[in-house]
Amino acid sequence: MIRITINGKVTQASEGETLLKVIRREGIDIPALCHHEAVEPYGACRLCMVEITKEEWNGWSKYVTSCLYPVEPGLIVKTHSTKVIEMRKTIVDLYLARHPNCAEIQQLADEYGVTKTSYQTVVDGDNCILCGICTRICDEMGFHAISMVGRGHGKVVAPPLDEAPANCTGCLACAQNCPTHFIEFEDKGNSRTIWGKKFEMITCEKCGKTTITKEFADYLAEHRELPREYFNICDECHRRSTALDMGRIASWSKEVK
């Protein structure tokens, strides 16, 4: 166990844990847009910046992204010092200039009292903050369907060659976890379109409700050794048939009684 001090309060952390994890466990709210527990920390959004120091540092302190920084014995962390708030304000200010129409950024700006950006606003910008959650989750799940393309101003998230990605199974994890809800998809009838690729959905054999895409179910059946029949009906119809199966078994014992 490692003892660290966060905002004056001594707390315990285990080795290898990151500062952000400990800070959040302590119930302290600091923003982080590029953080997701399913994937490795990335340090892209810079919003989780905190001030750290140690007694032996003779008054010196440094500013680190808490999502990437592992706990060390004797760390003294300040999550809301004047300097940290100032830095976070600057970052939010920059985000506001780049993504003026993004609701999530506007909310952050409100929280940090940034009413107007002090930089030149990008007029026809999109809402992608390039946090990489989508690409990292896609990689983690084993699909590698999308990635960061280009550099600098031209950097975007896209499938290879901007064509419908062959590896995409339409699981929607990228869109569901996008912190700014930028990734577009369309669920219509029994088809789903995302990244320019059209998928056929599984419709429940009993009630007709759509569940996941056929390609995703095929992938899970093949790579995770799951019977493909499991995916033929929806969860509600699964529960109904479970009740009927168990009911049949229970009825035998009733007769015994």
């Binding site: 399913a38 699981c171 994890a173 479970t242 009927l244 168990m246």
Partner: protein, 145 residues
């Protein structure tokens, strides 16, 4: 694992108290959670089956999860979903052959029974003991039907 969750459909009267208890036990910010247990018509007269997760040993939900968000809690034996790790791909919801991984539409979360961390609310409130959480006596390998 010190205790086992036992469902006895024969004793169930379909009062749905368990459903209510579950929804209250899993409320977030004062809003009811989605119940993880449903007493459903068992196909015979006055026979109800409380359908809920039975924490399969070789669970389809665990197999289907591509980010390892589902893990067994060795203390309670429950397969627990780590909400922070979940990417909401719906794989477990589609894969569970008993339909016990669910989507909580209101909170936009995938949910499943976690045995309330070792004190299931449904069993506590069941008036007929159709749901019980009983300490395991003797050999833990013997499975009660």
């Amino acid at each position: 694992m010190k205790a086992r969750f036992i469902v006895s459909p024969v004793l169930c009267i379909g009062c749905r108290t368990c459903e209510l208890a579950c929804a209250f036990a899993h409320a977030i910010d004062g809003k009811l959670g989605k119940s993880r247990i449903y007493p459903i018509d068992g196909g015979f007269k006055e026979l109800w089956v409380p359908v809920t997760c039975l924490q399969c040993e070789e669970a389809a939900c665990v197999k289907s999860c591509l980010v390892n968000a589902l893990q067994r809690n060795p203390e309670t034996g429950a397969v627990e979903l780590n909400q922070e790790k979940c990417v909401k791909c719906m794989a477990c919801v589609a894969a569970c052959p008993f339909g016990c991984s669910l989507l909580d539409e209101q909170h936009e979360l995938v949910v499943k029974c976690d045995l309330c961390g070792g004190d299931p609310a449904c069993a506590r409130f069941c008036p007929t003991k159709a749901l019980e959480y009983k300490p395991i006596k003797g050999s833990p390998k013997k499975i009660a039907v």
